[in-house]
Each structure stands twice: as structure tokens, then as C-alpha cells.
Symmetry: C2
Subunit: 208 residues, 2 copies
């Protein structure tokens, strides 16, 4: 059957979201439409605010609440208590959140917006690699010189390729910057018996 | 870490949706925020239209696109080609859609909005059972007298309880209405070996 247009449009559009399909989206539609008017209004406003009340930090590319400051910096970049000489480079916002939630990192971040892929070369154009390099260069003559760059990328082939590329590009700046990567080995709670060979090799090499 | 307020609000609100959790919702947020402005605007409008461009049919309780008609009837109830003497009673909108998609049913519908549960008696107040009974009664003196009511409810204990209750209530109207239920047995593609006893009993009893 032809669904009513507003519902059809919604299902079509929202089933593009990662992890949602047309069936689940259809169920969401009717769930939403069965809520009280007040709840519906809250959903609507929350959705609108996501677009109208956020901004991207021009320094680290994290997303923050819109504020009246001119520099549009996010809270982390504005925080003077943090160590601005250490940058942790991550693929995406959710990686930043996971690292922040450890409460163990006090430096700042840089969000790449993706990883370098051997297949999809167009994707590389969208990454914020040039901004990262410019940021490091610019800091060289400031009191907050960047001393360490942590490449906190996924231990996958795309992650490794990006690490390789970034390491080379940063070294070429000739600014005497320490480049570090995340330790590799067995995950907490993991079992030696079931670990794959690559993980075990990493764990052996990283023994201490 | 504290997420920016518009994001925190979104995650909190949208992870209430059935089948969505905070992790997936967080991923959706950043996916949405990475789309082009035009795409974001389309998402926003589709979302707004879901609330502002829909209405509930006062006859069958299906949801339809807002139109300028005074009676606010949905397309199915307005369709003169359909058989208005047969009502198919379903639990929810998605059940109606599944039945419509068979292209085998030409009658009209009635959406109950749920099933009678032995535990949750408050839920029963929200069902459109009184509207169904009033609709049947009202039709008795009209040219479109309702002759058959199909109780197309899930073959579960709640479905059976609701069928039992509705059957009794409709019989008490004394209007000589045929009450039918969906056939029960093996699903298409099912295997006798793995069918549960209840299904096999139903299949044996419904043999023809």
C-alpha cells in the first residue's frame, strides 16, 4: 500500500541512518505518533536543536553547543587547565568521547573525520589532515608549542595506513615532535587462547 | 565527559525510541551532523512533517496525511471502491500495512491501539474498543451495514484474550454479525519437524 506521504517521506529519509532499516523506522513512526502531544513537541525541539544549536570547533573539529564567543572554540579547546602541548588525534567524535570518559587524558584533541582508505581516495579530501599540520606548525612559535601527537586510531589496516601517512607528514615538518601510538595487545578481560595471532604478536612485542 | 547540551538532549530523548540505545543514538547524532546542510534541512523537515502533516482517522484510527476534508477520514475509509461491510480489526498500524500489502483484502479496518492484557489493566482504557462497538451499532441502520468482523490479532495469549473479549462484546450487540479469526497452522516455509505442539494442533484442526 501507499503509506501517507509524511510517513513515507520519514521512513525513506530516516532509514538512511546507520543501523536503521525501513521496518524499524516504520515502527518508530507509529511509536512517535502515539506519544502525547507534549512528548512529540519535545522530540521535535530536540531534533531541531541538534542542527540549530551546535557548531564545529575550528581548532579540533569537535562539535559543541553554540555559544556567543567569537572564536567558536569548543569547551575542551577553551579549557586553560588542559595541556595544550599534547594533541590526541582521533578518527571521530565518539572516539574522543570514549577517551574523555577514561578521565585519564588531559591534553587536547584533533578529529580527523575519517581514515585514509586505499580504495576510496575521494574520502581523503574530506579529512582534516591539512588543518592538523597547520595547527602544529602554527603552534611552533607560540607559548603553547605542541610537543606530542598521540595517533589514537583504530588498529585496522585503514588506521595503520593513516598512522603511517600522518607520522611521515608530521616528521617532515621538522619540528621535533614526539609521535606516539596507542599500546597494542590483549584487551582487558581477553583470553590468550582465543586471541588472534596479530594480537598475540603485538602483546608479546609490547610486553613490559 | 559532559556532551554538548543539544547532543546530550538528543541522545537522552531519542534513545527512548523502541530499539534504539544511547550508543546507537550517539552515532546517529554525529552521522547527522556530518551531512551536508541541504540533507540536514531535509531531515529536519521530514521530521517536522511527521507531526504537523498527519492526522488520525476518527473512523478506523489509522494515520493519514492531513487533508482539507472536514471529516478527516483516511484514504481507506474514504475509498468507495472498498467493501465497507467488512471490518478487519488489527492491533496496530503496522499490522494494517502488512495486510494491505497482500493486496488480497478489500474491506476496511479498525485499529485497536493495543491488546487487552491481564496484567496491565490501565492499558485497556486506551484501546478503541468502545469506538469499534459504536461503529458497528451505528452502521446497523445505514446502507453500509457491517456484516463481518475479522479479528486479525496476534495468536498470543494477549491476542486470544482480546479476541475472546471482542467476540463476546460484539455478540451482545445482537446484530447478527459474522465474526471470523485468522486461520492458524504452519507458516509458509515452516517445517512440521520443528513446529511447536500448539501450532501442530492448530494445523491439524484447521486441515482442509
Amino acid at each position: 500500500m501507499e503509506l501517507p506521504k509524511p510517513i513515507k517521506d520519514f521512513v525513506q529519509r530516516f532509514s538512511q541512518l546507520p543501523g536503521l532499516g525501513p521496518r524499524q523506522t516504520t515502527r518508530l513512526v507509529f511509536w512517535l505518533l502515539h506519544q502525547k502531544e507534549e512528548t512529540q513537541r519535545e522530540f521535535y525541539h530536540t531534533f531541531a536543536n541538534l542542527f540549530f544549536q551546535t557548531q564545529t570547533c575550528p581548532n579540533c573539529f569537535f562539535i559543541s553547543e553554540k555559544n556567543n564567543s567569537e572564536d567558536k572554540l569548543c569547551e575542551i579547546c577553551r579549557d586553560r587547565q588542559r595541556d595544550h602541548s599534547t594533541i590526541c588525534v582521533v578518527e571521530k567524535e565518539t572516539d574522543l568521547i570514549s577517551i574523555e570518559n577514561t578521565n585519564k587524558y588531559r591534553g587536547v584533541y584533533h578529529i580527523l573525520g575519517g581514515l585514509i582508505s586505499e580504495i576510496d581516495t575521494a574520502e581523503r579530501q574530506k579529512l582534516t589532515i591539512p588543518h592538523l599540520l597547520a595547527r602544529i606548525k602554527k603552534s611552533a612559535n607560540s607559548p603553547h608549542k605542541i610537543k606530542e601527537v598521540i595517533l589514537a586510531l583504530n588498529p585496522t589496516s585503514e588506521g595503520n595506513l593513516t598512522i603511517y601517512y600522518l607520522e611521515k607528514a608530521i616528521r617532515e615538518l621538522n619540528l621535533d615532535i614526539k609521535i606516539t601510538k596507542l599500546g597494542r595487545g590483549l584487551p582487558h578481560g581477553g583470553e590468550v587462547e582465543f586471541a588472534d595471532a596479530e594480537t598475540l604478536v603485538n602483546a608479546l612485542e609490547g610486553r613490559k
